[in-house]
């Protein structure tokens, strides 16, 4: 076997077994370190204050679109058998595919509006960093390869469940099964590599705001009071302030 290994195989080995671990390691290490050491930098960095009209047409389609797309990928990863069962009926397959595709189109439209807004509005331009452009670039890349895949390598919801989900699970189980992905078409591979790149970039960019979405708000009491004195302690008789 050894003599048959080509440089292409080495590339595959690097991209689909080493890169995912580099990505995950970077992701966890840096997000945690950043949260603990530089927590101040966790913000949505909203620019709605500077420009309030185009903002709607950029943010709303983008965020709702990408939520649908990400959620779709997540379901395919977590519940492959159920997705395949759902797709056994053609109409249901079409429904799923169309929903995902519309989500993708929304994301693309949102991204284009984001770019136009950040290039055309003088104030917003001022708060757009290089890192922001890198994020926009990688997102455009991902959504374009994703939409290409959806059109030219159709029924992704089914083959994702059959080949991508086992591959991703093999990474989780620390025994990567590269054979699931090596036969995949070029554009799908690009999409996978782009995803790993995005995971690496994630902790260094504004994308971290996705990690601090305000879920506790939904079940906390409306008013928040913080005490700097220990009220319980002062209520007990043991603690008596000498006055």
């Amino acid at each position: 076997m050894a003599e048959n290994i080509t440089s292409f195989d080495y590339l595959n080995l690097f991209l689909f077994t080493i890169l995912p671990y580099v990505a995950l390691f970077t992701f966890f290490l840096v997000t945690i370190q950043r949260y603990r050491g530089r927590g101040f930098t966790y913000s949505s960095l909203s620019s709605q204050f500077l420009e309030n009209k185009m903002h709607f047409w950029a943010m709303v389609p983008f965020h709702y679109g990408i939520l649908v797309v990400l959620f779709g990928h997540l379901i395919g990863f977590l519940l492959p058998a159920q997705v395949l069962a759902w797709n056994s009926e053609p109409m249901r397959l079409y429904l799923l595919e169309i929903t995902g595709f519309i989500g993708g189109i929304f994301t693309l439209v949102g991204l284009i509006n984001i770019m136009v807004r950040r290039l055309s509005d003088a104030r917003t331009k001022m708060v757009t960093s290089t890192a922001d452009w890198v994020v926009i670039g990688i997102l455009i890349f991902q959504i374009c390869t994703g939409l290409y895949t959806a059109i030219f390598h159709s029924w992704g919801s089914s083959w994702f469940a059959a080949s991508m989900s086992p591959y991703l699970w093999s990474i989780v189980k620390l025994s990567p099964e590269i054979a699931y992905v090596t036969p995949l078409p070029f554009f799908i591979k690009l999409h996978i590599i782009g995803a790993f790149a995005m995971i690496i970039l994630f902790p260094f960019t504004r994308l971290v705001h996705a990690l601090v979405v305000p879920n506790p708000y939904l079940w906390r009491k409306p008013q928040v009071v913080r005490w700097h004195w220990d009220r319980k302690k002062i209520r007990t008789t043991e603690f008596k302030i000498e006055r």
């Binding site: 620019s47 204050f49 500077l50 104030r123 001022m126 005490w227 009220r231």
Partner: protein, 496 residues
């Protein structure tokens, strides 16, 4: 009874001369950084006028504060259910255009301009983009512009004034205005806190100061929309919201906040109020016309032994209770009833109270005769230049009774003092006025003293923070002493 202490404030509008010293003192200390240039944690507005940000009182537009709905109160902007769908684009968010674009001037052009026939000029440049800009609005843009069809005419407090009353405000030679200095009200039922998805906004238990935890703020800006007074601001540079902190580092070391300390007209009073936190929900849910009274009823008598016992049991320091007993705010708000909360109909229960202004010239001219008295002894407040309804819309949720009471008492005190010092009014008439205004002679003297002769220590009764004892309770003070001042604090830098 859940007794808590609250640093509360009174602004005496009759004394405000609109010099903006407070605003500048605040700006120099807190908001001269990039991203905060447009913020005025303290600002002084001309009323009638549109204020800052423009028409902030128009809650149809900004959706600030609480509204009564189905028997309870709800946030007008984003409650729990609405925060998720609206998080990507907040529908009621003010933008920089509602405030103004901060600018500076290219002063070096005055020196570097090439020789020519024209005077060199310093052109304005935006502090956001650095580009040349045309100034369209700025801080205090409608300063003193009462009677202006652009600004004063759009004052949201005109909403239920008759056309006649409105016309009266714009008649030539009958213009009227007063100043309305504003800071964060450090409310008891703050809608900014209730709206914060990240839990960054909080009220300090010990003194009730409302703060934004800068490390926990994620810049969702719900507070900006939810605060009906528009006193939380979004720092577009750091991506975090900021607000008036009532100069808590100064308060903790026994000094008055900068805007209070610098006030030239000595209009500001600061002191502790003890209140019953169990009543917050019920009071915030009271019908509009009873709000002022209900709000006042929450404030507890610091000399009542029952209250003192509960306060002590609740961990309130004896020094704070002592300070509450000397509080000038308690006198104005509770004992005398002449300080009123601004826009209490927003139901945030503000803890900054205003002594309403005796608007200039109560007198009206009837031909050549000065006509300032109605049938009784008092000037006819309903014939005053600023309609009573206008003042009541601002300070008592439209409750003209409370407003009339406050004005009547102030007027009676004036007449009484005039009888004492000038003597052109008979003491008998003055005492009759006091009686009619529900004011005893001692009370009149008290109001007079605290209004006119008040010293620094009478205006600002700041309780000792006793940080040393608080530290003692949490950890070893020696250990704390060794720790403070060391370690790296994070710089407030914008994230990537």
């Amino acid at each position: 009874m859940d007794v808590r202490s609250q640093i509360s404030m009174v602004f005496h509008l009759d004394k405000c001369i609109g010099c903006h010293t407070c605003s500048v003192a605040c700006k120099n200390i807190w908001t001269d950084r990039k991203g905060t240039e447009y913020m005025w944690w303290n600002n002084v507005e001309t009323k009638p006028g549109t204020g800052f940000p423009t028409k902030w009182e128009d809650q149809e537009k900004y959706k600030g504060g609480w509204e009564k709905k189905n028997g309870s109160i709800q946030l007008r902007s984003t409650g729990k259910g609405r925060v998720v769908p609206n998080i990507f684009h907040h529908p009621h968010q003010p933008s920089m255009n509602d405030y103004y674009e901060p600018w500076t001037y290219k002063y070096d052009e005055l020196f570097n301009a090439p020789e020519g026939n024209d005077q060199p000029t310093a052109r304005p440049i935006s502090m956001v983009t650095g580009e040349h800009m045309d100034i369209e609005a700025g801080p205090n843009w409608d300063d003193d512009l009462s009677g202006s069809p652009v600004y004063a005419k759009n004052d949201p407090n005109f909403k239920n004034l008759t056309a006649e009353q409105q016309a009266q405000l714009f008649a030539i030679e009958r213009l009227v205005f007063f100043y309305f200095p504003r800071i964060c009200n450090h409310c008891l039922n703050p809608s900014c806190v209730a709206s914060c998805p990240s839990g960054a906004l909080h009220k300090r238990g010990e003194d009730g100061i409302v703060l934004i935890d800068q490390e926990q703020c994620r810049g969702w800006r719900s507070c900006v929309a939810a605060c009906p007074y528009k006193k939380t601001y979004y720092n577009w540079q750091t991506g975090k919201s900021e607000k008036c902190i009532l100069c808590f580092p100064r308060i903790e070391s026994g000094q008055a906040p900068a805007c209070f300390h610098s006030c030239v007209g000595r209009i500001r009073y600061l002191g502790v109020l003890l209140y019953d936190a169990d009543m917050i929900d019920d009071v915030a849910n009271t019908p509009d016309d009873q709000l002022v009274e209900a709000h006042r009823a929450m404030v507890l008598d610091p000399n009542d032994p029952e209250v003192i016992r509960s306060a002590q049991a609740n961990g309130i320091h004896d020094d704070v209770i002592k300070s509450a007993q000397k509080s000038p705010v308690y006198k104005f708000v509770k004992e005398w009833g002449i300080a009123l909360p601004p826009h209490i109909e927003y139901r945030t229960l503000p803890m900054l109270f205003y002594v309403p202004p005796m608007l200039p010239v109560m007198t009206t001219m009837d031909g050549d005769a000065k006509k300032n008295m109605n049938e009784g002894l008092f000037p006819d407040f309903d014939k005053a230049r600023a309609p009573m309804e206008f003042l009541a819309n601002l300070f008592s949720a439209g409750n003209t009774g409370k407003m009339r009471y406050a004005l009547k008492k102030q007027m009676a005190v004036r007449q009484y003092r005039r009888a004492v010092t000038v003597g052109d009014i008979s003491m008998e008439a003055a005492l009759k006025m006091l009686l009619e205004a529900d004011c005893s002679v001692e009370e009149a003297e008290g109001i007079y003293k605290l209004t006119s002769l008040c010293t620094f220590d009478e205006r600002f009764v700041i309780p000792p923070a006793h940080r040393e004892e608080a530290i003692e309770m949490m950890k070893d003070p020696l250990e704390h002493k060794q720790e403070v001042g060391f370690g790296l604090r994070e710089e407030p830098e914008r994230g990537a």
